[in-house]
Symmetry: C2
Subunit: 371 residues, 2 copies
């Protein structure tokens, strides 16, 4: 390193140069967890010399499995090989369910956090960060008269946005119970899925608006499901859509608005979308919590007037996994649509109530929209 | 609830209406942790009947404290009253350091996650979500030739953006070691602080660009500090600034660019800002890891040529808490500036190496910028 001559004699500079870069107090040497091996087996670890029992909770993709302990108190468990995918899991440490403390990849929401494991495949997945043009995700705040106060929303804009005077169609995309408006980006990878589909020419350029689906004071959404969904509908129709349509260059006709959601958000999408066909013409239900929307009068009207509904609807897309705990109400809802003669696309797929299914559904639904 | 007549006799509808809303398998009744009492004492809890020892790790604001266990295996600890603030903490559960499993508020980064406690005050804090016009935070991706690959950056745009042909000044705001580009928003509340300061007329409208300060393959930044900071400088000057200045309506003169950062990012801000006064005229160092920038030739030149440096610099703002483990190198750096006759603002404050200090520093620095 060359020194500037006039500074060489400065004792203060030498103090600075001589010292090591300042460091926080040294932590224990890092534990690598999870470690994905080349054959896609995965090793989970925990440093816990004082711990008596460690388990992996990964019910749907690996079950519940116990770790074993070595002499130094390092616990480990190897499973797989696993299919390339993004998985959620937790640990049970002496009976306490929590994240893997060594893994910085954490999925947060309004309920307890979980850890995230990504197993890469040999070729890029549709949700990978590709070498393609990227859109942006905007974190915005808007006033909600329906719910009161200021609410946060995530908005995906496609790579070309804003292009001259072009106006874009909009997909409203709703999350599940316990999650928040960051979920479809953070773990659902909706922005990267759209980037990749748009780059391949498979999806239209569209905005994706990802609102927050819970309301204040209803921390446990199961207790006030009906009231919450009524408020979310009023907020979305009366506050959020006007905000989006004033803040972004978007189309304002029903044929240019879609609504879809997963689980609780799938129920909300059915209630809000099918109950307001003057606002939305495209509806997607992913593993939808479909029982409660039948209590909406507007949704009953949708079911009772099939000819009118069929005229208005451009697409009603319903997907559910064979192993999903919501498969029965979804099959019943589809049977009801059949009995009423309401057109729909029904996808009974592999999988259960989890993000791998919903990422695939988003990649399957969005190419069909706004055609 | 009124039913649409034509549907009343549909047995399928009755199946749907009769059933409870579908619910995930019932979890245990929720444990409230942390609970902030009206007097600002705080109770932490953990359900752990099989656990033998629980501690709170909150070294700087509450020390390390042990929980006590009741007969049902519910552990709890009450501390305080605490000053209104946002605090980070972890639990030690049978010797394992991890988050509070019952608290959904989690701060993530590239190192282990921590839990977040917010103690509200009687009046709104500068970092609170106020009833003021809100800017947006954009999550963007750009190509980095310096580092290789695609990198993510968070960009705050103020409430008026974009206003006609107005061009805005830009603050580049860097995070600390182990964090990522979401940190200054997620826990630093930079967007809400700017919203509030702008609404009060105390800060100029500006963009705040929050890049990611680590490089791939250097997972532990302490091992390759020098190389990382060289790459981050090349990326910021050669890739990120051109991206921002092509994607946003911003001013492109050095007097309209500021750079500031905390800890590792404070060292980067010194190296990049003071070493490139043709690019930046405003520099902020918060609890800066200031030892290593002295190894930059450009920074030595800055120190060796005080008249030239004083002519170029609009502001060099340095803050450090009395209880910060980096106080000594910061005081030495300030003494070196004094000995060289380089103008600066030195704020020796209460506090240590933690976010409450850095949020205050941001609220103190930004009103001084671009005046």
């Amino acid at each position: 390193m060359k020194l500037i001559p006039s500074l060489i004699w400065s004792p203060l500079l030498w103090v600075l140069l001589a010292q090591e870069p300042p460091r926080p107090p040294a932590p224990e040497p890092p534990v690598r967890s999870p470690e994905v091996h080349p054959d896609r087996r995965v090793t989970f670890r925990l440093r816990g010399p004082e711990v008596r029992e460690v388990k992996l909770n990964a019910s749907w993709w690996a079950g519940e499995k116990s770790f074993s302990r070595n002499q130094e108190g390092l616990w480990s468990l190897t499973i797989g090989p696993l299919a390339p995918e993004i998985y959620n899991y937790t640990y049970s440490i002496d009976g306490v369910t929590t994240i893997d403390p060594h893994n910085p990849a954490v999925k947060t929401g309004v309920r307890a956090a979980s850890s995230v494991l990504e197993v890469p495949g040999d070729s890029p997945a549709i949700y990978d960060l590709g070498e393609v043009p990227h859109g942006a995700v905007h974190i915005r705040y808007y006033r909600s008269r329906a719910i009161g106060g200021t609410r946060r929303v995530h908005v995906y804009t496609p790579p070309s946005y804003p292009a001259g005077n072009k106006r874009y169609p909009v997909l409203y995309l709703l999350h599940g119970a316990g999650d928040d408006d960051s979920g479809w980006m953070a773990i659902g990878r909706a922005n990267l899925i759209l980037d990749n589909l748009i780059a391949e020419g498979r999806a239209q350029e569209m905005l994706v608006v990802m609102p927050f689906g819970h309301v204040p004071g209803l921390a446990d959404p199961r207790t006030s499901w009906e009231e919450q969904n009524r408020l979310i509908e009023r907020d979305l129709i009366g506050d959020l859509i006007p905000f989006i349509e004033s803040a972004y260059r978007v189309r304002r006709d029903a044929a240019s608005r879609a609504i879809a959601g997963l689980s609780m958000g799938g129920g909300q999408a059915a209630r809000i979308g099918l109950g307001n066909l003057e606002v939305f013409r495209w509806v997607g239900m992913f593993s939808a919590a479909v029982g409660q929307p039948a209590s909406s009068e507007a949704l009953q009207r949708f079911l009772a007037e099939p000819e009118k509904s069929n005229r208005a609807l451009r697409l009603l897309w319903i997907g559910c996994g064979k192993d999903d705990f919501l498969i029965k109400p979804n099959e019943e809802f589809v049977a009801l649509l059949d009995s009423q003669g309401i057109r729909h696309t029904w996808r009974l797929t592999e999988g259960d109530h989890s993000w791998p299914v919903w990422r695939r559904y988003l990649a399957e639904l969005t190419p069909l929209l706004f055609r």
